[in-house]
């Protein structure tokens, strides 16, 4: 069933695909070392796509296309809008960094990023197991190539190999789980799988068997313990611009896929997957926070911190359904969505500062490289400090409200064990506060090793300042983004 609505539903994806191909061709035109022409075209395209998605989100429509294979609802539109903006910001921060490392001899950074974004779009909008899988593969294949973009760098190539091998295995898990579900329910369509499970006539063992593999695949993509091993190595090994491309926007897509598969597809199995997610979350909070303390490399530290942060996201996801009661469901999922969005915002700014401090032939990755940043540049030190306090969950920064809302969802379930879990989570975030504070300490209390000025282009400076300001301003006025998350999730659950 391909009708007009189908084309309307995938209009942004179509624009993105067409422009990605066009830019790949136009990039052949001779241009300067920083590829200003390709860069400008890419940003214009992405800006346009973000506007379309934002407009679509504000209409509140829900469209199904291609015989229910894709869905375009408010949640998808907002997540796609945020993902697009995140990729734009990544490219703004990453271009000077990549240019100084010989990664801009061709325009691959831009075109591959656009294809990765297209993959995310398809994941977010997929309403069918195979479509989601295709989107995921498009995203990860582009990511493998991006990680390996610095061919002559041993670390980057090693990271790409690790990422590829483990990523392929995780995709295999996911696909295997999907095939089990297909075998049990006879359909790949998420809505039909849901109906088939709801009837209660499908054998539970088979479903749970498939579910385990799906959760494992998702856990790999989200990067939670015990499927987290790739994260530190890839974060550290990949060129920082690419690290941000992997660690930023794709988290939004991973969240969307988790929602589609576990909630829209398998809500009747909630009691099973909630337990799995709870274990993953508890382990992630522990290992992520404690391992981060031991790191001396900022990228690696942020990698472990990501693992811990994803543990918090999972809290929001597994608190949704309590004893078959779905009253607090929207509350819990929207808190998880708020968490992911603010996490991506904060991560962007943090990696932006890391890239800014890196110079030609010098990676500013060690914690010691941040020494005395406040004396070299109060603005960038301020942005980084805001990010660190936000990730530690100190008000009035936005990260506090993210933690507040997931903890609120957790306690709202009214189970004594969940209150215990909430106390565990806050204790873990206390451990987390230690290493975030350590970076602030290095920037503010230590003396600088170098007195060199931090130089940055106007575009980087402006975007970074806005990004840092948002971390604070969304903390003072969080109501809008919270309402937006709540409304998106409510609409998703309602259809």
């Amino acid at each position: 069933m391909i009708d007009e609505i189908s084309w309307f539903a995938i209009f942004p994806e179509a624009v993105l695909l067409a422009m990605a191909c066009a830019i790949a061709l136009l990039d052949l035109r001779p241009q300067g070392p920083l590829r200003g022409y390709t860069y400008t075209l890419t940003l214009i395209t992405l800006g346009l796509v973000a506007l379309i998605e934002g407009f679509f989100a504000s209409t509140g429509l829900t469209l199904y296309g291609f015989g229910n294979m894709v869905i375009a609802d408010t949640m998808a539109a907002w997540l796609k809008c945020f993902a697009t903006v995140a990729v734009m910001v990544t490219l703004v921060y990453g271009r000077p960094y990549a240019g100084a490392r010989d990664m801009l001899r061709g325009g691959e950074l831009f075109t591959l990023s656009m294809f990765a974004l297209l993959g995310m779009f398809i994941m977010i909008s997929g309403n069918n197991f195979l479509i989601i899988y295709m989107g995921l593969e498009l995203l990860t294949l582009s990511s493998y190539a991006l990680v390996a973009l610095r061919r002559d760098n041993v670390q980057a190539v090693e990271a790409a190999m690790k990422y590829f091998v483990l990523g392929a295995m995780a995709s295999g898990f996911l696909l295997y789980g999907m095939s089990m579900l297909y075998g049990a329910t006879g359909s790949l369509d998420i809505n039909e799988v849901f109906s088939a499970i709801s009837t209660g006539h499908v054998r539970h063992q088979v479903l749970v068997f498939g579910l385990v593999f799906i959760v494992a695949g998702l856990a790999f993509k989200l990067g939670v313990v015990p499927f987290h091993m790739w994260i530190p190595d890839v974060y550290q090994g990949a060129p920082t611009a690419v690290t941000l491309m992997i660690g930023g926007a794709p988290k939004l897509a991973a969240f969307a896929v988790t929602m589609r598969l576990l909630v829209e597809g398998m809500l009747p199995l909630a009691i099973d997957w909630q337990q799995m997610l709870m274990l993953l979350s508890v382990a992630s909070l522990f290992i992520g926070n404690f391992a981060a303390i031991a790191q001396t490399n900022v990228k690696r530290m942020l990698a472990f911190s990501t693992i811990a942060q994803m543990g918090f996201v999972l809290i929001g996801i597994f608190s949704g359904v309590i004893n078959g009661n779905t009253i607090s469901t929207a509350n819990a999922y929207s808190s998880a969505m708020f968490y992911v969005v603010t996490y991506v915002l904060t991560t962007l700014a943090a990696f932006g500062v890391i890239m800014l401090l890196a110079r030609e032939g010098f990676e500013s990755e060690e914690i010691a490289d941040f020494a005395g940043l406040n004396q070299r540049s109060p603005l960038y030190a301020g942005v980084m400090a805001a990010c660190m306090f936000s990730m530690a969950g100190i008000p009035p920064l936005v990260g506090f409200y993210a933690k507040l809302s997931v903890l609120q969802a957790l306690i709202a379930s009214g189970q004594a064990m969940h209150i215990g879990l909430a106390i565990y989570a806050v204790l873990m975030s206390l451990v987390g506060a230690f290493y975030y504070l350590r970076l602030v300490k290095v920037m503010y209390f230590d003396s600088p090793i170098t007195a060199s000025e931090v130089v940055a282009g106007a575009d980087v400076r402006i975007v970074l300042a806005i990004n840092g300001a948002l971390v604070l301003l969304l903390g003072i006025f969080p109501a809008g983004l919270m309402a937006l998350s709540a409304q998106s999730v409510l609409q998703m659950l309602g259809t």
Partner: protein, 491 residues
Amino acid sequence: MGLLSLAIWTPIVFGVVLLALGRDDQAGAVRWVALIGALAGFLVTLPLYAGFQLGTAEMQFVENSMWIERFNVNYHLGVDGISFWFVLLTAFINVVVVIAGWESITHKVSQYMASFLILSGLMIGVFCALDGLLFYVFFEATLIPMYLIIGIWGGPNKIYAAFKFFLYTLLGSLLTLVALIYLYITSNGSFDIATWHALPLGQTAQTAIFFAFFAAFAVKVPMWPVHTWLPDVHVEAPTGGSAVLAAIMLKLGAYGFLRFSLPIAPDAAHEWAGLMITLSLVAVVYVGLVAMVQQDMKKLVAYSSVAHMGFVTLGFFIFNDLGMAGGIVQMIAHGFVSGAMFLCIGVLYDRVHSREIASYGGVVNTMPRFAAFALLFAMANCGLPGTAGFVGEWMVILAAVKFNFWIGMASASALIFGAAYTLWMFKRVYLGPVTNHHVQELQDINAREFVMLALLAVAVLYMGINPKPFTDVMDASVAGLLQHVAQSKLP
């Protein structure tokens, strides 16, 4: 915009402007802007005094507007007799610390001044917030500027002190956050503190909530045995940081007991009052003795702060109006006196760069005007009648004797210890012959320091001679609170 909003945001706006525009090479201008900001912040609190209605326990100057709709969080401000004086006290101390840092801070002046201005606004916010989450946001946000103040402008071991301060207090507050969320859910989605006051709670829930709040507030007060962060932090913090910490930040914890622990969990508060009284008495007696053997002046005053705050919590948990009002008066008086004590140490430290008692001796010979101020504040610290320090301690002791003779007896012993450690320090530092060339070369205080100390001296004497305006404001609210606490909230 209401008066309370003005009181909160005026210093914060000045602070942000300083952060954005302040340059290191224009330190002079930065100092003046900071002083104007602090003065403006103080001036906008004065209409509160003029407009405050006595004789009612109701919240006044209330502002209420929706802040976060999804969680039903309101920007809800108001003051009653309990919180009223702390708004003025905070704004006043802020002026004093801006003056105190005028010459001694030469590094990153704009960030220093901005930190204090923002901190002052946040602390006023804590005292005004009538919404649980708003309170928590202000309460926690104060950690960030204080962390930076200790870490950037502190002494040799500043990093240890900054981390200890931050993590120690964060641990307590995080447990409180869980309690706040629990209350939010139990009250069917309300963060309003007044709603929580009326919320019936079972004994187990009350006990859990009481101790969750205890974790945050007892650390902040600090009560024995969780007071160990305070001496370390005071020793390393810059003078202004110590003054604000002792004068205002400790009061945030004590205020939290009055606003949260007692009215929300009254049955648990009664049940555990014995424990709280014991801890308070240990602080008063034992920590008083610990103060006596200190070699470092800042440490001595820090321990003396713990002992004085013991009076405050003692006053709260004997549940009578004299004790509670005495506790609040003691909080205000301690704000003036301990702030002044730390500033005096700062005056000496700026000149000699030592806080050791042994480095001094005979300061009165070279700095007579300064020694006069120091004597006044030392007397206030031991609770001499006619100074601010006397009023609160006397009220609490009286109430304690009424409650139980032996408790009153034990708490009264603090007057002896207080006099002992304070006067002994005074003798060793100020009196006697000049002991070394550092003291010989001391210059007496300049006009700026004179103004700073005179402001505090006036406050200490005024409050000691005429405490009635202070107690008048709080009487109705204290009576209302006690009446509320006397009723069981068990369902």
